[in-house]
Subunit: 454 residues, 2 copies
């Protein structure tokens, strides 16, 4: 009987985060000031983030030491298991070997705590009393609540009001870890009050929630802000996933031909793929790293590479990214974590340089894939995760057609325990594909008025 | 930095189930025919269960081989991790060493698949096409759905109608694994039609759902029935938990003074404790095994030991058990899995012989304990699980008072991802203690009219 799992010991939790910027042939372009359009330095971030995270944001050294206390907290769920997906291979009748790295074992059920724990730690080190953040579906808010509880910091989450009302379980989860959760827009901030004055029944939006969380941090000396994806330091914290996966693949006596991960802002994809890209960059390996995005929000496959705002309202620095435009409103797909108009700077540069690939799937294909996976392997994946599974199944079917047994590694970044309403939707035949027409894409891109990259 | 987890490899998944009956000083009394009150043999079970499970139900040998295919399926989540609860110890400021064995990593989130997989396997071996069962809150129905999917058997779950409507996520989980889930009472059975004729709006009950599932199995040659607790073979299948835990405690260089587990019908408690009781019985160890039950359903601490029916309506054989009477209706506590009037035969005999202990907790104490645990260790436990945590915290506080550092092992049998509504209830101060008065207990016991045990 063969082993299904490849496990590591706590000693094998990585001691350093991998900073891929060091190895990139073309470094990311600098962020620009939203007013002057001139490059800005790290000092612009000081009101919002602790110094150590700002240093990491602009770091160019290859490895950054993970503090002992962070590694100790990681042990609450890390190292995470890797599985050989024998049952899925059998179901697909494919010569491909399929593995998955499972981050759903973390307390909040996804990869998000890898950076939440690190961010909470550095804030506490610098005497910060309170961290604010926004959350949509609730994955990131849950992870930060858990992390703040662990390090004894207050956590204030601005949750988009419509999600607050529709997904009470995520809110209660955050409460269980001691966080205060507010339905945004609130009366607690200028930004919130302004919205409420104009639209008392506003359902809120991620853009508004960001404004509220940022305002709270900017106007209180004891309070900082935390972001769950997009930024360089966030992507880097996630590389513990891929570093473990590299060791696990070695222990399995294998090396992936293909690594697939869902793509929202980039931290999920970066987490698993950057340590494999290192093998490409350093050792000339040829591992294909594929980002799986929703067909309804195809910034990587159908967007443009240019400067754009990170937020909807245009308050952040301008970042060089693949984008559909910061005013683009993605269709209401169930994979809420992937409904973001842009892509992190580092991942964008890598795609520009053809060092990574991207594909898009409509959500019906994704849920087809997720249900297949659940029936074969047992685990019910999050809607975001289903995108990577859909890509893996396409590749496994290609292997079958071509009679070639490639090795595929899936980033199984989270479970779907809080997303079963989406599965119900799928089973009842009410799931929309939410594809997007060329005209809609063109119209969205035409609206972008931020600087072009030559 | 110390390790938090004690992990095992797949090679260390137990090869045999432990049958404690072999080692019991007083063997369990025989079941009686509900009509004649005469002892009945295993043949009475033939319409409902496959032969191999009936053999296990009456087996007296000490060890029963686990089939290779069952062990292979176990690998989808086993061995389960054991954790040293350093953060909880710190929070309680106790000299006690606290460990927990975590079964929430299984696909359905509890220990239930340990027996579901075994039962589905034996049914498939004997050519059974369909398995029926009942479910209340949904833990058992989910586990059996997953197991039937794995072995390619149809699964039909009769889910109590009020739960079906109130807990749609559990139903969707079962659908995801391919099961058919019916809101009981249904029009598909005589039993269901009879109830609906009398009460078209019946919210259903576990008693009715059992009647429907049993009728379907009894009247169709290709269909059998499965039960998730109480019976000897079910308890025995769960001993994989405790066998792993014995090895893990050895690897930690420790031995528990106290093992605690929640108590519903007995399979949860048996699973972790029987392999430690074996050390008591064989090697003269003195490990206290404590069953934690709800104060609202205190069959072990305030019930009587006598013959009683396993079900509410009185269709099953009469079993020698600790009971509050088969017509006892427990208060609607959130720990739905512990709302059972009686206790499995083997566990009852062990308690009668003072080889195990029992304590009761009201549900407010349990949620207090569960929230402490979640804030310390990250994992949000199921309401059932919180009972064991409450006992562990009491014992850890006793250690502090006495200045003695005992070792406590908690059976963390499941996560609370589908029970956050109960936590919300707790946080909002709306949780009732649901204690029970002496008069209520006396009245319940006075209603029992089944044979007394001399």
């Amino acid at each position: 009987m063969k082993n299904r799992k490849i496990l590591l010991t706590e000693k094998e939790i990585p001691e350093k985060w991998y900073n891929i910027i060091h190895d990139m042939p073309n470094k990311p372009l600098p962020p620009l000031h939203p007013g002057t359009k001139e490059p800005i330095g790290p000092e612009a971030l000081a009101p919002l983030f602790p110094m150590e995270l700002i240093k990491q944001e602009v770091a160019t050294e290859k490895w950054i030491e993970i503090p002992e206390e962070v590694r100790d907290a990681y042990k609450l769920w890390r190292p995470t298991p890797m599985f050989r997906a024998y049952e899925l291979e059998k179901m697909l009748d494919t010569p491909a070997k399929i593995y998955y790295k499972y981050e759903g074992v973390s307390p909040s059920g996804s990869h998000k705590p890898n950076t939440a724990i690190a961010q909470a730690y550095y804030n506490r080190q610098e005497g910060v009393k309170r961290i604010t953040t926004e959350t949509g579906a609730g994955q990131w808010g849950s992870a930060l609540s858990f992390a703040c509880q662990h390090f004894g910091i207050e956590c204030e989450v601005y949750m988009v009001k419509i999600s607050y009302n529709q997904k009470p379980y995520r809110k209660i989860m955050m409460n269980t870890w001691g966080a205060k959760v507010y339905a945004s827009p609130t009366n607690l901030t200028e930004a919130g009050r302004k919205i409420l004055a104009e639209a008392p029944d506003s359902p809120g939006s991620l853009g508004i929630a960001i404004s509220e969380a940022v305002e709270r941090a900017a106007t209180d000396d004891n309070t900082k802000y935390a972001l769950g994806s997009v930024l360089n330091h966030v992507l880097m914290h996630q590389t513990v996933i891929g570093q473990e996966a590299v060791i696990q693949m070695e222990k399995a006596g294998d090396l992936p031909d293909i690594v697939v991960a869902p793509f929202g802002g980039g931290s999920n994809f970066a987490g698993i793929s950057f340590p494999f890209l290192r093998l490409n960059l350093e050792e000339g390996k040829n591992i294909r790293c594929i980002a799986s995005e929703p067909a309804s929000c195809p910034k990587l496959t159908r967007g443009v590479f240019r400067y754009d705002f990170g937020d909807t309202v245009g308050m952040t620095p301008l970042l060089p990214m693949y984008t559909l435009g910061h005013t683009f409103v993605p269709a209401p797909i169930h994979a809420g974590g992937l409904r973001y108009h842009g892509a992190g700077v580092v991942v964008s540069q890598l795609l520009k340089d053809k060092l990574i690939e991207a594909v898009a799937h409509d959500q019906v294909e994704c849920f087809d894939a997720g249900v297949k996976f659940a029936r074969a392997e047992g685990i019910i994946p999050a809607p975001e995760t289903n995108h990577a599974i859909a890509t893996a199944i396409r590749e496994a079917e290609k292997c079958k057609e071509e009679g070639v047994g490639r090795t595929i590694l899936i980033h199984l970044c989270g479970h779907g325990h809080f997303d079963l309403g989406a599965y119900e939707n799928y089973f009842s035949g009410n799931l929309e594909k939410h594809e997007i027409t060329s005209e809609e894409i063109e119209a969205a891109l035409a609206r972008i008025d931020t600087p072009v990259i030559e």
